[in-house]
Amino acid sequence: MIDNPVDLSALDPAAGGVPEELVRSIVARAGPELARRTDRREPMAVLADWARPTFAAAAVLAAVSLLGFSLARQIGADPRLRWVPEALGLPGPVAEWVTEGRSPTGDDLLLAMEGGL
């Protein structure tokens, strides 16, 4: 059959595989450009990296605070329940707000986040 493939294997740079030497040369030459790219990451990407864990922490804090606020109202109404925040293992600042029966201020939240809750 005249239209069978022509055997071009003599032109194969790596006998059917990846030409490792060529790959190594290319990757070595790419080093400076890759390093430059790592250094000049876009501000939004850097911000996103920073923002994600912060938002997650804020969400947890908000959930815990809501729970605390709800508890605080009940504890305010009945002082015998003052042991509940500690028994629930609420973080220190949150337990304090609950026991005092008050909502946290913005400063309280910031201080709590800086202190790792």
């Binding site: 740079p13 990757v27 450009e33 890759l34 990407a45």
Partner: protein
């Protein structure tokens, strides 16, 4: 189109060396085939291939369709190889010299045979048009389908088949002539 390419391109844009290595490994053979189709010389093809990957990395932010990275890359390879060809025309390299230079020496008989075959094939490829060389190398050496070749070169699939058929016929005829001449 490849989601993996899009993923690797996104990571390489951020400077991820492993992702760039992945892109090189996936496409270095096709890049080499396209460079060889333009230059007709394996050593120059390797140099052109290296230059093209570096240029592609430098311009990676301009790759608008990362899932079609390979088509974009091969266009850079082709343009770079054509520029190199124009530049190098004043001092052309003989395929036979190149083939001889490539022998490792570990299996002299086999290496010489392979070098001879490479020289014949390169001589045969030189008689084809650039598009015929690209089609036959991508199809018969790299195993690409006509659909992929047609997409890459902006041809109809039938045109790709036609180029392959013509290229094979010419190569086969030329190789037969060379063998006959050597046997005399």
């Amino acid at each position: 189109m490849s989601d993996l390419d899009a993923h690797l391109v996104a990571r390489a844009r951020a400077g991820d060396a492993a992702a760039f290595d992945g892109l090189v490994r996936r496409h270095v053979r096709a890049a080499h085939a396209v460079a060889l189709a333009v230059l007709g010389n394996a050593e120059d093809a390797e140099d052109a291939c290296q230059d093209a990957f570096i240029k592609a990395l430098e311009r990676l932010d301009q790759c608008r369709e990362p899932e079609r990275f390979v088509g974009w890359l091969l266009q850079i390879v082709r343009n770079g190889a054509r520029n190199r060809l124009r530049f190098e025309r004043s001092r052309p390299t003989s395929p036979l010299e190149l083939a001889a230079g490539r022998s490792s020496g570990s299996r002299p008989g086999r290496d010489a045979e392979r070098a001879e075959m490479r020289a014949r094939l390169l001589g045969g490829l030189a008689t084809l048009s650039e598009v015929q060389r690209e089609v036959v190398l991508l199809h018969d050496l790299e195993g690409w389908a006509h659909r992929e070749i047609a997409d890459l070169l902006g041809l109809a699939e039938g045109t790709s088949r036609f180029h392959l058929s013509v290229a094979r016929r010419k190569l086969r005829l030329l190789l037969e002539v060379l063998v006959t001449e050597e046997e005399r």
